[in-house]
């Protein structure tokens, strides 16, 4: 058995299909007619551009626009003037063959990109490799694997699946893939999740360990790749696969439906995301909005602070794609277990009780302002809700509002346009729960972050392995707090959402609705499951259960009781 990074859920049992890159001769040769070689080069570029354009259209149709933007970049690379002139001049000066010249020029750029040590450039290096291999293939008339030629069930094994290959994935035959490179955020992983194909990435020496035609099992939940197995294991996985498949197909009937209970109470099921790249997944799972866009990734993948402009573009993109559905964007929440390489923070004795989230934003107002400016400008493009994390006092929110006011004044003075938006806060610190009635007068919405609320209520570090028994989401202390927050919010006529792990757990999520929470925000892949169980439970009953468990004394007691009353029908 080998273990990799699980990047897309599901199971597959099939023969492997090793995806080798076509071998193209790039040895240096002297040519008689360099001009002919240059014409062949132009011809290969034209063919490549046509091919990319076709792939782009296909990709838009299949995966959506966001995921297909990568092909715009590919078009630009295909006709890049610097590469073109370098290759042409090399061919005419050295009288050499085109494949050698192109390979040499491209390798020079790849080396430069890898030397600059920047995540964005490393991704662009992969794009350059993909595009140049395509030009080379056209130049010599060898076509790489066309995945649409595969007509038996296989699991692909590859270094990585290139963007162009992803558009050829026919899920009738391709049952999953394992790759040597890539991770959660690589293009191939995103596509796998969109197609519900199991995928495992980051398997070292994959070609040495797996041969073409081997029968293997992959488990996209755990990242396991099983090479040798007995009949019993196989039977087990066939059963798991069937069960998961049935679940997926029953869920697809909930696309386009409203999120309502058996007795007609309507709520909203929203998605948690970490990057604009996740938006197509949000749409394909039919979320009714975005309840939490974590902005940390925009900051963490970099060697420098992202500019206002860069953030603006990311927020604008998400807002535009979501149209009239709400998009809740949380301002920077670092500190605790997350840090930024370029922001030198003081060492904290108790990081989770230290300077994190809004405390950090108020310490570095320039960083905070640049994010707020980007958000306010982007609010012109959709239904924006700005959410401030870890508020624990009224003064903090007053200070935030002052900063926003100063930005508005500056915008007005400089005639910079901005739209309308709501301002809300996360309730995740017990002090905020206790003054929820005060805070509710200051903001437009609340969102309860249950993960932090639980750790702060039990005074138990959630990353501490020896303290996991204190993670008790259904403990009466937590339920009473949520009840308090909901009451305070509804008294001021503002809405409450929950965006912690509780919201995506079927049993806990339903109980939250019973407590009066207005919407739930979760991982996109959980939305349809929640919509299904919602439709087989009655809101009336959920409210009654919620009120009765508030009087209980322990989590065990609550859990026993709600399991009796809430129907999940075979789901766990």
């Amino acid at each position: 058995m080998i273990k990799g990074i699980p990047v897309s859920k599901g199971y597959a049992i099939a023969k492997t299909f090793i995806l080798n890159k076509p071998k193209i001769d790039t040895q240096k040769r002297i040519v008689m007619d360099p001009d002919l070689e240059i014409r062949r080069y132009h011809d290969a570029i034209e063919k490549t551009k046509n091919a990319i354009e076709k792939l782009r259209m296909k990709s838009i149709e299949r995966f959506g626009e966001e995921t297909s933007k990568i092909f715009d970049a590919h078009l630009m690379i295909a006709e890049d003037p610097e590469i073109k002139t370098s290759v042409e001049s090399m061919i005419s000066h050295e009288k050499c063959n085109l494949t050698y010249a192109l390979k040499t020029v491209v390798d020079r750029f790849l080396k430069l990109f890898n030397d600059l040590d920047n995540q964005y450039l490393r991704e662009r290096a992969l794009d350059l490799k993909d595009v140049s291999e395509r030009i080379l293939s056209f130049a010599v008339g060898i076509q790489g694997h066309d995945l649409s030629d595969i007509h038996e069930e296989v699991i692909l094994v590859a270094e990585d699946i290139t963007p162009s290959e992803t558009t050829q994935l026919d899920t009738r035959y391709i049952k999953g893939f394992i790759t040597e490179q890539g991770g959660m955020t690589s293009h191939s992983a995103i596509i796998a999740r969109l197609l519900n194909l199991p995928a495992v990435a980051g398997i070292k020496d994959v070609f040495k360990r797996i041969k073409d035609g081997d029968e293997i099992i992959i488990d996209g939940f755990t990242g396991k790749v099983i090479l040798n197995y007995d009949e019993k294991t196989k039977a087990e996985y066939i059963e798991k696969l069937k069960h998961y498949h049935d679940l997926l197909s029953s869920l697809s009937s909930y696309i386009g439906k409203e999120s309502t209970t058996e007795d007609g109470y309507q709520t909203k099921l929203l998605a948690n995301i970490g990057s604009p790249k996740d938006v197509d997944l949000v749409l394909s799972n039919d979320a009714e909005g975005i309840g939490l866009f974590r902005t940390e990734l925009l900051y963490m993948d970099k060697t420098q602070m992202p500019s206002e402009e860069e953030q603006f573009l990311a927020y604008q993109e998400v807002l535009e794609k979501m149209g009239d559905k709400p998009v809740t964007i949380r301002t920077l929440d670092i500190g605790g277990d997350k840090y930024l390489p370029y922001l030198k923070l003081e060492h904290e004795l108790n990081p989770f009780l230290g300077k994190r989230a809004i405390r950090l934003s108020l310490t570095y107002p320039e960083v905070f302002k640049s994010q707020l400016r980007a958000l306010m400008r982007a609010s012109l493009y959709g239904q924006l809700k700005i959410m401030i994390p870890m508020i624990s006092t009224k003064e903090e929110i007053i200070q935030v509002k002052k900063i926003i006011k100063s930005i508005k004044d500056d915008f007005d003075e400089k005639n910079i346009p901005y739209g309308t938006y709501q301002l809300g806060i996360m309730i995740e610190v017990p002090s905020a729960v206790m003054i929820a009635d005060v805070l509710a007068k200051e903001v437009d919405f609340f969102s309860i972050g249950t993960n932090d609320l639980i750790q702060y209520t039990f005074a138990a570090d959630r990353t501490h392995e020896g303290l996991s028994q204190y993670y008790q989401p259904l403990h009466p202390s937590i339920l009473k707090m949520i009840d308090m927050v909901v009451t305070a919010a509804h008294h001021q006529k503002i809405e409450v959402s929950v965006c912690g792990e509780m919201a995506g757990n079927l049993l806990q999520g339903l109980l939250l609705l019973g407590l009066g929470v207005d919407s739930l925000s979760m991982t996109p892949s959980e939305i349809l499951k929640m919509r299904r169980v919602l439709s087989i439970n009655s809101y009336d009953k959920l409210t009654q259960i919620a009120q009765s468990v508030l009087k209980y004394e322990s989590e065990d007691q609550v859990l026993r009781e709600i399991k009796k009353w809430i129907t999940l029908e075979g789901d766990s």
Partner: protein, 86 residues
């Protein structure tokens, strides 16, 4: 003609905004070159621009033919609007 600027963009010139910048320049009907240290890059080439590794605070020049000054003004506006320069 050449003009000299200082890059103020936090991310330097090797991220998504740079891609949009190059697309903008590529839409102009004239040749534009970007000069940084000893290197001159075709400003319509995303690969060349990115490989310069131009970082915040660094000085660079833009060059166009003398008769194309108006285009340099346009580029300057774009850069100011998108906070590449002051």
């Amino acid at each position: 003609m050449e003009r000299t600027y200082q890059l103020i963009s936090e991310t330097g010139l090797h991220a998504r905004p740079a891609t949009n910048f190059v697309m903008f320049i590529a839409s102009l009907p004239v040749d534009v070159h970007l000069i940084h240290k000893d290197f001159t890059a075709d400003a319509k080439s995303i690969m060349a621009i990115m490989s310069l590794g131009l970082a915040k605070g660094e000085i660079f020049k833009l060059r166009v033919a003398d008769e194309n000054e108006e285009y340099l003004d346009q580029i300057e506006n774009y850069m100011r609007e998108h906070q590449f320069i002051d």
